[in-house]
C-alpha cells in the first residue's frame, strides 16, 4: 500500500526544509517542473484547460482500480513545478481520501502566495477541479 496523502505532504515539507533561500527552493520547483512528464498535445483540449490569465494549466484525470490518477501540464515552468507537487500529493489515492484531504503543505513550504485566489496562474482552480473530479467518483 502506498503512503497516505498526509505522509506525502510531510515528506515534501521535509524536503523543502533543506533549502536555505528562495533561490534553492525555486530551483527545486523548476527542476520538478522539468521532470513532470510532458503531456500528449492531443490531450490539451479546451475542456481540460484552466485559464489562469497568465499561465495556463491542463488537467486530466482517470479512475483506475478505485484510485484517481491525474496528469497535468502548464505552459509556465514554475506552474508546472507546482502542478507536479500537487499531483504527487493527490494522484493514486481514492476519491474519498482526495475529497477529504486538507492541503496544508503549500502553506508550510512557504508557497501560499501561489495559491492565493487572486493569483492568475490557475493553480487554485486546478486544485478545485482535482477535488471535484474525486467527489464525482465518491462511492
Amino acid at each position: 500500500m502506498g503512503k497516505c496523502i498526509n505522509d506525502i505532504q510531510d515528506e515534501i515539507i521535509e524536503e523543502f526544509e533543506l533549502f536555505e533561500d528562495w533561490m534553492d527552493k525555486y530551483e527545486h520547483i523548476v527542476e520538478m517542473g522539468k521532470k513532470l512528464p510532458v503531456i500528449d498535445p492531443a490531450m490539451k483540449t479546451e475542456d481540460r484547460l484552466i485559464d489562469g490569465c497568465q499561465s495556463q494549466v491542463w488537467l486530466a484525470a482517470h479512475l483506475s482500480d478505485g484510485k484517481v490518477f491525474y496528469t497535468a501540464d502548464s505552459d509556465a515552468i514554475i506552474t508546472r513545478g507546482m502542478v507536479s507537487l500537487l499531483i504527487r500529493v493527490f494522484s493514486g489515492h481514492t476519491p474519498d481520501e482526495i475529497a477529504n484531504a486538507e492541503l496544508y503543505m503549500v502553506d508550510r513550504i512557504g508557497l501560499t502566495s501561489h495559491l492565493s485566489p487572486t493569483r492568475s496562474n490557475g493553480l487554485l482552480s486546478m486544485i478545485k477541479r482535482m477535488k471535484t473530479y474525486a467527489k464525482a467518483h465518491l462511492t
Binding site: C53, Q54, S113, S116, P117, T118, R119, S120
Partner: protein, 416 residues
C-alpha cells in the same frame, strides 16, 4: 416651559472619544466652532479611514488583479478582503454579489442600463416613488425614454410617507422593476421596503433599493430584505468619495449583460469575439478606486466597532434633542413627519426663505443644507422652494445642537 430636553445621552464620554477621531470637527468656521449638521450630504471621515488611504499609498500601492509582483498581490488581496467586509456588512450571501461602483448614482445607472438593455421593452413600466432622489429618478426616465417604456410613480402623503395602499394598483403585468429608496434624504422617512419587496415579488417583479441614506444609520440585511439590488455610497458612511456599492443577487448579475466595457471585465478579447469575466468583475471595467475600496472597508470596521445599534441610539437621541429644541421656536414647521424616521430634520420657519437661513447659520459656524436636496418632486408636492435640513451623525454632540438652536434664533430675529 420652553424646551423639554431629553436628558438621556447614551454613554457620553465614549461619544466624545469617537468625536475626537474626526479632526475636522475641531476647526472653526467664520470664527465660530464648526457645527457640522450636513451629514446626509456627506459624512466626515475618522482618522483611521484617512490613515488607511495614506498607508495604502505609502506601503502597497499597485494596480490590482493580474499582477504577479508582491505589491500587486498585496493590493489585490486587500481589495478582495474589502469586498468580503462589504459582503459581511450587508449580509450578502457571497462576495461575488458585491460590485464596486463610483457611488449610488453610478450603481443605479448600471442597473438601469444593464437591466434595461435586456429586460425593459416598449410598453413596459418602471415603478419608482415620489420620494426619490434625482439619482433614482433620472436613470429610469432615460431608460424608459430609450425603450419606449413608462415611468410610474407611487405617491406620498402629507407626512411624507409612501401611500402603500396604492401600490397594488400600480404594480401590474407590465411592471418590470420597482426602484425605491430605503430612507428619504430630504425628509428622513424610512420606507417599508420589506413590504414593498414582498408585494413586488408576489408578481415576480425585482426590486432595487436605493440605500444611500440607510447604511449610515441602520443595519441592513439584504438577504432578510430579499431585495434584488441594493445601492449605496461610501462618502455618506465615513468612507472616501468616489466609491460605492451595488449589491445584486447572483442570479441577476449572472443574467445581465455588462454595463461598461474595458480591462478587468473580460476573459478574452478578440476583434471578432469577446467573452466576459465572471461576476462581480464583469461589472467592474477599468482600474478600480482602490484606496476608496480600502477606505470603505475601514469605515465599515469602524462602524461595526462602535456597533450599529449604538450608533442608531445615539443618532436618534441627538435627533430627538434637536427636534425638541427647534419645535419650541415660533414659526417652526417640520417637513416630513413620518412615523419611522432617520436622524434627518427638515424644516421651515414661517415664510422665511431657506437660503437666507442657510447663509446666516453658516455665518455662525453651523453647516446645514438648504434647498431641494436633489428631490425637486418632493418640494413640488409640498409646494415649497426647499427646506432647511439638519442631519445628524453619532459624532455630533449636544453643543452642535445648542449652537444650531441659538444660531437659528438669531437668524430669525435678523430676518424678521
Amino acid at each position: 416651559m420652553k424646551t423639554n430636553i431629553v436628558t438621556y445621552a447614551p454613554n457620553a464620554p465614549i461619544w466624545q472619544a469617537y468625536r475626537n477621531d474626526f479632526s475636522i470637527l475641531d476647526r472653526d468656521v467664520n470664527n465660530k466652532p464648526l457645527a457640522y449638521l450636513d451629514n446626509a450630504a456627506s459624512s466626515q471621515k475618522p482618522n483611521k479611514v484617512i490613515k488607511a488611504i495614506v498607508d495604502y499609498y505609502e506601503q502597497m500601492n499597485a494596480n490590482v488583479h493580474r499582477g504577479v509582483h508582491t505589491l500587486s498581490q498585496l493590493s489585490t488581496d486587500a481589495f478582495e478582503e474589502a469586498r468580503k467586509t462589504v459582503q459581511f456588512f450587508i449580509n450578502a450571501s457571497s462576495e461575488r454579489e458585491i460590485v464596486f461602483t463610483k457611488g449610488t448614482t453610478n450603481a443605479i445607472n448600471l442597473v438601469a442600463y444593464s437591466f434595461g438593455r435586456t429586460e425593459i421593452h416598449p410598453g413596459d413600466e418602471v415603478l419608482i416613488s415620489a420620494l426619490e432622489h434625482h439619482s433614482n429618478i433620472v436613470p429610469w426616465q432615460m431608460i424608459c425614454q430609450d425603450k419606449g417604456a413608462k415611468l410610474k410613480v407611487l405617491p406620498i402623503n402629507e407626512q411624507g410617507e409612501l401611500c402603500l395602499d396604492q401600490l397594488p394598483s400600480l404594480i401590474n403585468k407590465k411592471t418590470r422593476i420597482v426602484a425605491i429608496s430605503h430612507v428619504s434624504n430630504s425628509l428622513g422617512t424610512i420606507n417599508p421596503i420589506r413590504q414593498i419587496i414582498d408585494m413586488a415579488h408576489q408578481q415576480d417583479i425585482p426590486v432595487l433599493i436605493d440605500g444611500a441614506q440607510a447604511v449610515p444609520h441602520l443595519s441592513v440585511d439584504v438577504q432578510a430584505l430579499d431585495c434584488d439590488f441594493y445601492c449605496f455610497s461610501g462618502h455618506k458612511m465615513l468612507a472616501p468619495t468616489g466609491i460605492g456599492v451595488l449589491y445584486g443577487k447572483d442570479k441577476w448579475l449572472n443574467k445581465l449583460t455588462p454595463f461598461e466595457g474595458g480591462g478587468e471585465m473580460i476573459k478574452s478579447v478578440g476583434f471578432e469575439h469577446t467573452t466576459y469575466n465572471d461576476i462581480p468583475f464583469k461589472f467592474e471595467a477599468g482600474t478600480p478606486h482602490i484606496e476608496g475600496v480600502l477606505g470603505l472597508a475601514k469605515a465599515i470596521e469602524y462602524m461595526l466597532d462602535i456597533g450599529l445599534k449604538s450608533i442608531k441610539a445615539r443618532e436618534m437621541y441627538l435627533y430627538q434633542l434637536a427636534y425638541e429644541r427647534l419645535a419650541a421656536i415660533p414659526g417652526f414647521k417640520m417637513i416630513g413627519t413620518a412615523k419611522e424616521k432617520a436622524p434627518v430634520l427638515s424644516f421651515l420657519i414661517d415664510n422665511l426663505h431657506p437660503y437666507d437661513i442657510g447663509v446666516l447659520l453658516d455665518k455662525q459656524g453651523v453647516a446645514v443644507r438648504t434647498g431641494h436636496h436633489c428631490t425637486q418632486p418632493v418640494m413640488h408636492f409640498f409646494n415649497i422652494p426647499g427646506t432647511i435640513r439638519a442631519s445628524f451623525s453619532f459624532y455630533n454632540n449636544e453643543d452642535d445642537i445648542l449652537q444650531l438652536d441659538a444660531a437659528l434664533q438669531k437668524a430669525i430675529k435678523l430676518l424678521s
